[in-house]
Symmetry: C2
Subunit: 154 residues, 2 copies
């Protein structure tokens, strides 16, 4: 267990690393994302204060995700094996969030995804550039800009 201060832009974990760490955000903002075969980034999650972020593949397998720092942050870094999860309640909640996200990705349009996002994470919207939100929603920044435009126009 180690408390570390990290700076915006710093990369805590790279795709392919042995991923043995779990990060608990005390203050600031982290994100995890993947990079696909065409070099495009896809944000998997944002982690503001109070959140836990890690790569949920088993710890003996190379990481799928990158984890980096969006705002100067203080995080508690722990080894996966030194963690005993007591709060299964929280895990089940997270599964619920992922379930919603999957349904969303399969059925919702660009605008619908955006509206759902701002109502679910209003604070994040203020804190990160729009193109990162687009990346989380699974659309391009241009498409998001256009969607917002057509929404305002009515």
């Amino acid at each position: 267990m180690k408390i570390i201060k990290v700076k915006k832009g710093q990369i805590l974990q790279r795709n392919g690393d042995l991923n043995s760490k779990v990060y608990q955000v005390e203050s600031g903002l982290l994100r995890s994302y993947s990079i696909d075969s065409k070099g495009k980034e896809h944000i998997y999650m944002f982690a503001p204060e109070g959140w836990i972020i890690t790569d949920n593949v088993s710890s003996d397998v190379p990481a799928d995700l990158f984890i980096d720092v969006l705002e100067d942050s203080v995080v508690i870094q722990r080894d996966k094996d030194e963690i005993i999860v007591t709060d299964t309640e929280k895990l089940i909640k997270r599964i619920g969030v992922l379930q919603k996200r999957i349904i969303m990705l399969m059925s919702a349009t660009a605008i619908e995804r955006y509206e759902h996002f701002i109502s679910t994470y209003p604070d994040i919207v203020q804190r990160v550039p729009q193109k990162l939100i687009a990346s989380y929603l699974g659309i391009t920044p241009e498409a998001l800009s256009a969607a917002k435009g057509s929404r305002a126009r009515k």
Copy 2:
């Protein structure tokens, strides 16, 4: 706790129901799915023997998902509150699976998703019609048929 025999086509849970149940599949095959605003089905998961299937929204909220029966099955039905999850390991694994699925939905083409599916769930492919696999992958049956065609042709 109740052991029940269910027949193909039977619906165990509907969208909007108070969803207080968890189903453990002893034999057979269940699935969960949502229906979007345009009436389209989107399969969230398949649950063959040994799997647990439920709607992961909190039990005091109406269900997002339908759960129904794809093959005559024997399932153990439990109330959510009578369950104490001991195997957090399993929950974390499931989060890992959902993570992969989300990345997949955001970055992979129709064929890539299909290939990933058949290598991950080779048995399911044999047991359900292709249109259900398409629904799980987030594409139409027509698109899947076309993707398979162009793949074979090289």
